[in-house]
């Protein structure tokens, strides 16, 4: 009887540990076996021309300030819905870079870079969500949203270069989607 608490604690601990290991290993296996079509299906639709315009407005090397006014940026991105789509697409882009590792194991580096870029985007979007709670959404939106979109745009360029240069199947579809 003296050992009962120990036996219960160890049994619970083991069940939790084994369940977590099996669940996450199965998730990793499922993710490794993802098909190209399944990845494409996860991409949320965005207006890529508008997104490119907003991104290039910030990325173009010129001395002048942003030429787009805050209202235009909000409208072109599609407000917070558009940013939610960007946030979800970031995860898909990382999975797409991981998918390339079937052909090029060293694409791991690109996947990791995209993962770090994705963190930046999520940070910007997180700031906007915070601003919406404090009533500062209107002032903050153009600043953070445009940076998030610019970073996302650069991520998509990286991925397209990787797919095109590596002659990975699915490049044409990806180009149309991004």
């Amino acid at each position: 009887m003296q050992q009962l608490p120990f036996v219960i604690a160890v049994s619970t601990f083991l069940v939790v540990l084994v369940t977590a290991a099996v669940y996450f290993l199965a998730r990793a296996r499922r993710s490794a076996g993802t098909t190209w079509m399944a990845l494409m299906a996860r991409l949320r639709q965005i207006d890529r021309d508008n997104f490119a315009t907003v991104a290039l407005d910030l990325l173009d090397e010129r001395d002048a300030e942003s030429q787009l006014d805050p209202d235009s940026i909000f409208e072109m991105i599609g407000g917070m819905d558009g940013l939610d789509a960007v946030e979800q697409n970031c995860d898909v882009l990382i999975d797409m870079a991981t998918y390339v590792q079937h052909w090029y194991p060293e694409a791991l580096e690109i996947a990791e870079e995209l993962r770090l870029n994705s963190r930046e985007i999520k940070w910007h979007i997180g700031r906007l969500r915070g601003a919406s709670h404090t009533g500062h959404m209107y002032e903050q939106f153009p600043v953070y949203a445009q940076r998030a979109v610019a970073t996302y745009y650069l991520m998509t360029r990286s991925l397209l270069v990787l797919y095109e240069g590596g002659q990975v199947p699915g490049f044409a579809e990806l180009q149309r989607a991004l």
Binding site: Q3, A21, T98, P105, I110, A111, E112, E113, R115, R147
Partner: protein
């Protein structure tokens, strides 16, 4: 301490497998990539030889101190291996990503806490303080190692970090051995060190270690997939990534400026 033929057989078999694995790590140039793991295997060989000699020529007290000292060093090296494997998985580009570092530090703290609580609950039925220390120490190490390996799996899947073949195979071996180690050490804690149960459980544990060693030997002989990316593509991606890094640095500087403005 009386040792049976089976004890000697398992001892010798582990020694031979350790030796073969060390030779494979050296011959196939894996030692440079996994220096701590190679160190652990070399240490196991030294430990086996020293343990055999002390058991033959030393007193039981000397054997106890040797066992305990070797055990401590073994745990330190195993923690080193866990770090080495984490470094391979979580920093493929060199430096640790800030989000990974924070999450991993948090998981280490949780793992230490849970392992300590479980060890505190243990009360092995043994007459000697020395035996109790050894049993509790072994249990703590097994609990901690298994938590760390499961944490590694959870974190890498959550963060979307893929595993390279050798790292995955080393981790699978360590994970399985550590999880089984908890069952073995919990049984030691429950039954104590007296009676046939202790010996049987120890034999199962050593046998499992032999299986892990055989698995690692086979895994380390095989090569990982070779890099195949054309140089031109690699150069283009590198240039693009440099540009992205520069742009992001600019964003971050702006961000920090704004953060400090908020603080002011």
């Amino acid at each position: 301490m009386h040792l049976t033929r089976l004890d000697f057989f398992l001892w010798a078999f582990t020694f031979v497998e350790d030796f073969v694995l060390l030779a494979v790590l050296w011959r196939f140039k894996r030692a440079a990539r996994f220096p701590v793991f190679t160190g652990l295997i070399a240490f196991d060989i030294v430990q086996t030889i020293a343990g055999y000699l002390i058991q033959h020529f030393g007193s039981s007290l000397t054997y106890f101190y040797a066992y305990w000292s070797f055990g401590l060093l073994d745990v330190v090296l195993q923690l080193g291996v866990a770090y080495e494997l984490c470094a391979c998985v979580f920093r493929p580009l060199g430096p640790w990503a800030p989000d990974v570092k924070r999450s991993f530090a948090f998981l280490i703290a949780i793992s230490l806490f849970v392992a300590s609580v479980l060890t505190w609950l243990a009360s092995p039925p043994t007459r000697y303080v020395r035996s109790a220390i050894v049993i509790r120490g072994d249990f703590f190490a097994s609990a901690l190692m298994s938590e760390l390996f499961v944490a590694m799996i959870v974190l890498s899947v959550t963060m979307g970090l893929p595993w390279r073949t050798h790292v995955a195979q080393l981790t699978q071996g360590f994970g399985a051995y550590s999880i089984f180690g908890i069952i073995v050490d919990a049984a030691h804690t429950y039954f104590g060190t007296v009676g046939p149960a202790y010996a049987r459980i120890s034999h199962i544990r050593i046998s499992l270690y032999c299986v892990c060693l055989a698995y690692w030997i086979l895994a380390m002989i095989q090569d990982e997939p070779e890099p195949r990316m054309p140089d031109s593509l690699r150069a283009e991606l590198l240039a693009l990534q440099k540009r992205i890094a520069m742009v992001l640095r600019g964003f971050r500087e702006l961000r920090e400026g704004q953060c400090s403005n908020f603080l002011l």
